[in-house]
Amino acid sequence: MNSTTITLDTTGLLCPLPLIRAQDLAKELAPGSSFLLLASDPGVYYDIPAWCRMHGHEIFHVEESSQENVIQMWIRTAETSNRASE
């Protein structure tokens, strides 16, 4: 997990906002980059894996702090770019 340098803190936000923030960050990162998502809404257990499957991203580690109710997901973005601009 040491290679992760970017942390995206979405604690306090309700789904789908953690996913939207992760999606927006992934667009800015180079393909194959990693980041750590912090979230408090357990909805990320569905949303983030579904989004990763859809776009070829990978969740390579998950931890939950029971005391703080913070979910930590380490995500690696797809090797090929999937970005869209508006």
Partner: protein, 377 residues
């Protein structure tokens, strides 16, 4: 066969559209559509119908802040115990398409506050909302960097009293700027032909002629496709169609003296009991443990009250209460605590700056809380 579409490569070849740029050599690419995905059955079916004709489709779901989808399931404990899926993501996965989820909370304010076509039964600006979403979708760029040739919507003539009528459908097409680039596959045969039909990108004969409020044609089509686990929201996908929610939003605007809101405001309208004893303040009272925990997250923004001497709910104070108002609020909170039958309990008031004070108060009895204090019940 082309993967996932049931179409041969030869058939698909005929759906190549040619673009000529005066400064670039002639280039070709596949026809590309954007589908509005609410997560419900109609958008699932409408997209599937066109996907089966070999069109390259991406989906879009707009997060307005009023979506029934998502937000609320994280708050209440009994709903939290089972992780609920996001239906727009589920639909996209079923269809094998990529989905854009777009945060439009800020720009959507203008739709809610100033709807050109007015509101529906409650504070639902359905017609303006649809115009906004179609326009926004067609202005997006796909994941491959290409723009979209047309948009797909799951609307059905007569399905909704405000936005899904023949006359209003024409308004949506015109005012969104989509014009004949908006295709409604479930009722297309009841409408004039659109660009994708006339250009032969889409076979009109394979589209449908659904109309009215009955869901049977959609359920039959879903069964034909083998979709069984689709979402069936009872009250639509937007809180603004809900009478209780709209009452709370009206109250917010009336007492603040301006029609405006922030995301936290409209999220809190989904949580707890709301009681307004006077125009200076409103009480948001948790109904169960999950809401209690959720309201704790607002300790730096709102005054909080709970009953220190007994088990009971947490309450937030929205507004500018005076000393007597805090006493009234505490007596209400005590009414919903385990100390409701005591002659005196200890209420704890916490202020956003960290200051805290305790008050000895007598819980209200049931008849001392007037019915008109309750908002949106």
């Amino acid at each position: 066969m082309h993967a996932g579409t049931g179409y041969s490569l030869n058939q698909r070849f005929h759906q190549i559209v040619e673009f000529v740029d005066m400064e670039q050599p002639t280039t070709t690419r596949a026809v590309k559509a954007i589908a509005l995905i609410s997560g419900g059955l109609d958008s699932l079916l409408a997209t599937k119908v066109i996907l089966d004709q070999g069109i390259d489709i991406e989906g879009v779901n707009f997060f307005t802040g009023f979506c029934v989808e998502g937000h609320t399931h994280a708050i209440r404990k009994r709903q939290r115990e089972k992780i609920k899926r996001n239906n727009s993501l589920w639909v996209a996965e079923q269809l094998g398409i990529k989905l854009h989820i777009v945060d439009v909370v800020q720009e959507y304010k203008d739709i809610v506050l100033n709807p050109k076509h007015g509101y529906g039964k409650n504070l639902n600006p359905c017609l303006d909302c649809k115009i906004f979403m179609v326009e926004r979708a067609l202005n997006m760029v796909g994941f491959d960097g290409h723009s979209f040739d047309f948009a797909i919507s799951g609307e059905v003539i007569g399905q909704r009293p405000k936005s899904q009528r023949r006359e209003t459908m024409a308004i949506i097409s015109r005012e969104s700027g989509a014009n004949d680039r908006l295709l409604r596959p479930l009722c297309a045969k009841n409408l004039p032909s659109t660009l994708p039909e006339r250009e032969g990108w889409v076979n009109r004969e394979a589209l449908h002629d659904f109309s009215g409020r009955s869901r049977k044609p959609q359920m039959t089509l879903a069964a034909e496709y083998g979709f069984t686990d689709y979402a069936q929201p009872a009250g639509g996908c937007c809180f603004l169609t809900d009478q209780n929610y709209s009452s709370k939003l009206s109250d917010l605007w009336n007492t603040r003296g301006q029609r405006d809101y922030e995301l936290d405001d409209i999220v809190l309208l989904k949580v707890g009991r709301h009681l307004r004893p006077n125009n200076r303040f409103k009480l948001i009272l948790a109904r169960e443990e999950g809401e209690n925990n959720f309201l704790k997250g607002y300790r730096q923004q709102y005054i909080q009250i709970d009953i220190a001497s007994h088990t009971g709910p947490l309450a937030l104070i929205d507004g500018d209460p005076n000393e007597n108002d805090l006493r009234v609020a505490s007596r209400i909170v005590a009414r919903y605590s385990q100390g409701r039958n005591e002659s005196e309990v200890c209420a704890r008031v916490r202020f956003p700056d960290g200051e805290e004070k305790n008050m000895s108060i007598q819980p209200y009895s049931a008849h001392e809380i007037p019915e008109h204090w309750h908002i949106g019940v």
